[in-house]
Structure formats: C-alpha cells, structure tokens
C-alpha cells in the first residue's frame, strides 16, 4: 500500500445539478455564496479553490502555492456545446473565448487569476484514477520545493451535471515520496494517457470528503460506472493522510 506522506489541510466537494450546488463538508467550509455556484467547470474549479483558500490559516504566499488540476475528460462537454454554437455562428466570440481554454488550462487560469496564485500549475489528464495521480504530482511539487502547499482539484461536466472536489495538501520530504510518485502509474491500471476529446469516457472521480454523497449522485447519473472502486481507492489514500494529519 502506498503511504502518502501528505497532510490534508482542508477539503471540499461540490455537485451542481439544475443550476443548484450541493456542497459536501460544507459545515467545515462555512457558508457558500451564490457566486461560487459554477457556470462551467472552470468557474467551479475556481470556486472550490476560493472556498478552500478563504479559510483562516490557509492564506499565505500565493507564489508558493501549487495548483494541480486533474481530469478524465477535461471540459469535453462544454467544449462540444460551445464549439457547436461557435460553428453555427462561425466567428462566434463565445467559441473564441472558450475553445482553447475549455479544458484544464482554463481551470488553472481561472483559479490563478481570481486568487492571485502564481506558483507552479499542472493540468494533467490521466484517464481514470486521476485523483490519486494528482496527489502524486502534488508530492512532486512539494518534494522539489517548488511549492509549500498544493491545491489538488478536479471539476468535470457530465450529462448535465458538474462534479468538483478539491483539497489542500502539504508535506515534507520523506523516504516514502518515491513510492508515492511511482503511484502515478502503471498505465494499464485503468488509465494512463488519454487523448479523449469529445469521447464520453465518464465522469471524474473527484476528490475530497463527503464521498458517500458523491457516490450516490454519480451512481444515479451513470449507472454501471465504477465510482465505488475509484472512490474507494482514493478513500484509502485519504484515510492514511487523515491519520497523519
């Protein structure tokens, strides 16, 4: 079993359906304002980061804060919809604004610009199991001293709903780091590099507490999708991290 030498400082999770947001771990996060109900996954990503970083004790030097955005299928739903609209209008400013930024880069950009984060940013598509591997990338940033803390977050749109989850981690160099980084693979572990664009490869496996709620909603939205296994794997990591906190 991978031993995660990471400490979770805060976590949050959100599911948006029919324009309303349900937040997990809300009692730990304080009230959520309407502007944090996302209009798209980039806004959701930024909102998740804001909720976390507005918490007392988490404000700090933003140039030492890393951002890791992970996804199975970044922004595909929005890209497809907006692109179609753009194609209909040919020179649509809507398409122009969003097309290249519809994926993970938009997530990073939104959070970075809105919150003044100027540390390292990684937008990585692994396919499934992105959450665990995102944590491994956080480990890499912490171990290389590029960042003191890292927000690892995922936000995805799928079949009319949006999922998002984020946590702030920190850590110190440890002999276990090598094993944690190695946990990025292997590629045949249901994932690896994905080139999926508009392919419907499923919802993400967001990160954070309140996993039962997400699991239930996810199972409703996509029967048969193996949320249980995916979240259980993450839960295992989370349990260890919580233990070390």
């Amino acid at each position: 079993m991978t031993v995660w030498r990471l400490s979770v400082l805060a976590s949050v999770m959100c599911v948006v359906e029919d324009g309303s947001a349900r937040w997990a771990g809300r009692d730990r996060q304080g009230p959520v304002t309407s502007d944090q109900v996302a209009a798209n996954t980039a806004a959701l990503f930024g909102g998740l980061c804001r909720v976390l970083l507005d918490r007392p004790g988490l404000a700090g030097p933003r140039d030492r804060l890393g951002l890791v955005s992970v996804s199975d299928d970044p922004g595909a739903a929005e890209f497809t919809a907006i692109h179609e609209e753009g194609m209909a209008h040919r020179r649509s400013r809507v398409s122009a604004r969003v097309a290249p930024l519809s994926g993970l880069n938009a997530h990073l950009a939104t959070a970075s610009i809105d919150l003044g984060i100027t540390g390292p940013g990684i937008a990585a598509v692994f396919g499934r199991c992105s959450d665990e591997r995102g944590l491994s990338l956080a480990r890499l940033l912490l171990d290389s001293a590029q960042a003191e803390r890292v927000v690892v977050a995922g936000a995805e749109a799928h079949r009319g709903a949006m999922y998002g989850a984020a946590l702030v981690v920190t850590g110190s160099s440890s002999p276990a780091s090598k094993e944690a980084i190695a946990h990025l693979g292997p590629v045949d572990n249901e994932g690896g590099m994905t080139e999926a664009g508009v392919a419907d490869v499923g919802a993400g496996s967001p990160i954070g507490s309140g996993l039962d709620e997400l699991l239930a909603i996810g199972s409703e939205l996509e029967p048969g999708w193996d949320h249980q296994a995916s979240l259980a794997r993450f839960g295992l990591g989370l349990e260890v991290m919580e233990h070390e906190r």
């Binding site: 398409s95 122009a96 938009a106 984060i117 540390g119 990585a124 290389s144 980084i181 990025l184 590099m193």
Partner: protein, 392 residues
C-alpha cells in the same frame, strides 16, 4: 537538483518534414515552412504551418484515425532510435508525457464534418477516441510506460513536459522519460485566433514592426531524457544537458501577458536560478516569439530587465508557425540539435525589427560558441509559463 539530466535523443514532425534532419535543413536554409490555407472563404488565404500530406502518409497516418497519435508515435519513435534505444522499451521504467492543446478533438471535428478538414479525404468513420486503444497503440510502440499523462497547459506544455520529466528522473521514479508535445491544426483553433484578430494576415513576423499576429501550425516534438549515469552505463553519448528550468502561473489574464514583462522576468530568473547558471552564460534565447504586438513587446521588456537584451534571440514561429502544444517541444528539440550542430536557425530573413524592441534578432544563421547554453521560452494562454535551459 541532484543528478544531471541529459537529452539522449530527439525527434519531430513539423511543417518542414517528418524528422529532425528535414526540419533542421529547412530551418537552416532560410525557407518558410508556411503555406496558404486552402479554406480561404473562412479565414482568408492566411499562411499556416501545415504538415505535408506526403509526410503524413509516410508516418502511417490514415484518414479516419486520430492524427495526434501518429504524430506522437512518429516523433517519439525517432527520439527513441536517436537515443540508441529500441522500441518497445521493456527493460526500463518509462514515463511518457505529452503536452497538447487540443488532443484528439481536431480528429473528432473532422470525423463529424469532413468539410472542416484542411486535408482532402480526411473524413471517414468516427475515430476511436477511447483511451484504451490509443494507449495500447502507444504502449505497443514505445513499451508500456510506468507513468503516462497528457499536459494541458496550453502553449507552455511542451517545455513543462520536459521539466516534469526531469523531476521524475531526479526523484528516481523512472529510468527514462519521453517528453514533448503534439497538436494538429483545427478549425476551432483557427476560428479562435481569427475571432481575436490575432491571425497573421501574411504570416507571423516576430519582432517585426509590421507584426500582426500568429501563424498557427501543427507538429510534434519529443526528447528522451535520462540521468547522465544512465546514459553512460549503456554507453550512449548524450546530445545535450537539460540544466534546469521553471514552470508556473502568471495569474494575470486569460489571454494576455503582463505588458511590462513581469511574467517573463519571473520565468527567466527562476529558470536560470534552477539551472545554476549566470545570465551572462546564455548564448541564445529561443523565444516564444508569437508575432503578436503584445507578446513580443513583453518578452523583449522582460529580457531587457534581466540584462539579456544583447543575447541573440530567435523565434522559429516566424518560420514554421506556432505549433501550439508542440511549439516549445519542437523548439527544445531544435535547441538540443543546435548544441550538437553548433548553429541555430535565423529569424525570418525579411525581418524589419521594431525599433521599440530592445533586442538582437539575427536574420542569418547563428554560429554558437563551443558548449553553448540556450534558453527556451514558452508562454501560454491562461498564464502558463515555462522555460528550459539546455546546453552542452
């Protein structure tokens, strides 16, 4: 950062050709790799960096399949062979990191509406975009990697892929890294730049007083990285050293850099600090150099603030277009090759340098000193920034 990380092999597919040699020859002889776009009615007859149809045939691309996969396999395959390795690699822990702006979406666009293709006959059945088959193809060709992921940090992704690879090697997580970037041209991307008014009318003219935007292009570039000890152990002579670099976020604007070059200053300063070199050791800057008024000005201002105004600066985007997520990867390939060859290609020969830019932009091939050190810059939409320092 510990162990010295070396570049053992390079490969690329560009508008100049399907190999490092053909690309290098095209760049050195002063030709333009830009061609007029066929779909004039949509965007005007604007030059783009399109890969030649014969080269696509030669790398095995077939209509109805995902082009980016073939671009990855062709460039990575060349890099692996150049590194003295045989694919598939089965006796080492390998990471493959692919920077890309659009991934497979352009192929999906064309499959859904063949009229959107810039290449006749490119329609056909919907390509299989599921991760499994694509990964299998790459795994079969390269060897099943221990770590594989795609980076979506826009036009800085190629450089960042190299730097993440360096970190993985330094951490001892893998033995070999195949890192780079790939992107194909898409109508969506052309539409976006057209809509921004940032699509150069007569081809990108970086640092030129007449510059009016970007010439988009497509391609792929990959570098095999390993530790110096690893290369020595297998008797391979490295091509160059990846001395260091930096990647981060500017946090300023979705599509613009800070006009005063603050992001450039941060990126370059931290990159040379990480590489543990003195700014005076830099022999050449391989610029991001998109050809937009804002980018080139910010880049010149930032470099000037660091006392680097006199270091020769070259933008390859005026020669073969902005290759999107592949741009800084292909440019890194060129930096590595320049270390070997002792020369670096020139800017556009018809450059009329903007007097407001305090820089030295050669229009002849640059003869490099022995053991040169080159800074490779990349800045992407959303504020992603990445710089690598490559040398002997």
């Amino acid at each position: 950062m510990g162990a010295s990380i070396v570049c053992s092999g390079i490969g690329c597919v560009t508008p100049f050709g399907r190999s490092v040699d053909t690309t290098w020859a095209g760049l050195l002889d002063g030709r333009s790799g830009l061609t007029s776009l066929a779909s004039e009615e949509r965007f005007g007859a604007r030059p783009v960096g399109l890969i030649d149809a014969n080269d696509l045939d030669a790398i095995g691309h077939r209509a109805g399949t995902v082009l980016i996969t073939d671009l990855v396999l062709a460039a990575a395959g060349e890099a692996i062979a150049n590194a003295g390795l045989s694919a598939p690699i089965t006796d080492a822990r390998v990471a493959i990191i692919v920077g890309s702006v659009s991934g497979a979406r352009p192929s999906a666009e064309v499959a859904r509406d063949p009229d959107r293709s810039f290449r006749p006959g490119q329609g056909g059945p919907t390509p299989d975009l599921a991760p499994g088959p694509l990964i299998d193809r790459i795994a079969d060709a390269i060897g099943r990697p221990s770590i594989a992921f795609t980076l979506g940090t826009a036009c800085a992704a190629g450089n960042q892929a190299l730097l993440l690879g360096r970190q993985l090697l330094s951490a001892g997580a893998v033995d070999l890294v195949i890192a780079g970037g790939a992107d194909e041209l898409s109508e969506a991307m052309l539409m976006m730049f057209h809509s921004f008014g940032a699509f150069a009318k007569e081809g990108a003219r970086p640092f030129d007083r007449r510059r009016d935007g970007v010439s988009l292009g497509e391609g792929s570039g990959f570098v095999v990285l390993e530790t110096l000890d690893s290369a020595r152990a297998r008797g391979h002579r490295p091509l160059a050293v990846l001395h260091g670099g930096w990647y981060g976020l500017e946090g300023y604007h979705m599509t613009a850099q800070e006009p005063d070059g603050a992001g450039v200053v941060t990126t370059v300063q931290r990159a040379i600090d990480d590489a543990a070199i003195d700014p005076g050791q830099l022999d050449l800057v391989c610029a991001h150099g998109t050809g937009t008024p804002l980018n080139d000005r910010a880049e010149a201002l930032g470099l000037g603030k660091l006392g680097l105004a006199e270091v020769p600066i070259v933008s390859l985007k005026g020669r073969m277009g902005h290759l999107q997520g592949a741009a800084s990867a292909v440019e890194a390939v060129c930096c590595v090759n320049a270390v070997v060859d002792g020369r670096f290609p020139a800017n556009r020969s018809d450059l009329e340098i903007d007097d407001e830019l305090d820089l030295v932009a050669p229009t002849d091939v640059v003869d490099l000193p022995a053991n040169p050190t080159i800074l490779n810059l990349a800045f992407g939409f959303g504020g992603s920034m990445a710089a690598t320092v490559i040398g002997a």
